[in-house]
Subunit: 109 residues, 4 copies
């Protein structure tokens, strides 16, 4: 079975055993992604990138992924497809010639 399917199945099982689907509307899942993303960010606060704690980052990043997968499942998105599609769209916004070596936003290219 595919890894993404395994992850989502485990997350859904965890949620259902606790009867939490009632709380998991898409808006609150988007809040949860933001909250976990900020806990991840906190691991870097007042620090140089290389000073952050790898083990703590592992846990916080796992939480970001967990809620992102739960939101994807809620809308029945195919995670691989939506990412590959976005990469294609970004390729049009950021043509290699214009964007190579530049951190500028596409609106400023």
């Amino acid at each position: 079975m595919n890894d993404i399917t395994i992850i989502i199945d485990k997350l859904i099982a965890f949620r259902n055993e606790r009867d939490w689907e009632q709380f998991h509307n898409p808006k609150d899942l988007a809040l949860a992604i933001n909250i976990e993303s900020s806990e991840l960010l906190e691991e870097f606060l007042w620090k140089k990138p290389e000073e952050a704690n790898k083990e703590a980052i592992k846990e916080e990043l796992a939480d970001v992924f967990a809620y992102a997968f739960l939101l994807a499942e809620k809308y029945d998105f195919n995670v691989k497809e939506i990412i590959l599609h976005k990469i294609k769209m970004n390729g049009e916004k950021y043509p290699i010639q214009k964007s190579k070596g530049s951190a500028k936003k596409y609106t400023n290219l």
Copy 2:
């Protein structure tokens, strides 16, 4: 090949073609995850959960995933493993008996 491997390979190829690895230190990747998470959140602002635009959410969620996978790759994390490990840890923080049907944080259970 595994879906997660395919996604990461595509993201890395996109990044390398543009010579963007120089910008992608872990701290700024964590910033990027936060910024994309907030663009996702904006799709729900002033709205009921069911009023949000599914197509827009698809794009913003793809961006969250993209930077989350890039950060995982930076630390050489196995995404499936870190999520399954976190689910196990959460199972200890949220025992079914105590947490069933409750949205309370584990610190308040």
Copy 3:
């Protein structure tokens, strides 16, 4: 003395007594604002707006303000002026006639 001046003076005194200015570069202050904003957001997670805990919100909102004032001070911004200026700019983006009773973003008006 003006309230905003009093607030900023107290924040700077607190910071200087702890020799924390060395950590307070503008980028990390922006991270801190995001982290505190998400702690504020967490008070509303899985809840209806009216179910949130007012005392907890008071504390988290105070933290958001604290770092926002510290960042303003860092750039020597006059807080009142920048807000009144932004209100004026927003008045042009959101003319009353077009935006009255509508939650649409100005890009969609």
Copy 4:
């Protein structure tokens, strides 16, 4: 009249002219603070702190303040009082002797 009172009065007038109070429940105001905080953060993305654009930061920070003041008003908080109170609480969490020159979180002091 006090600066903070002037700011809040202007923000409320702007809101009421557009009949937007109906959208401004505390939960969505907390979302708005997060969204604006991330737009502020985006000004620092892939950059050194000193490379960020001061004019853009001025605008984004003004937006953070605007929604923070609107949320404070919603709960009838006295902004000066809640910040001074939080500074006092933080003084207990971060005694000068223990925290001087250290960026550690109080939980790790």
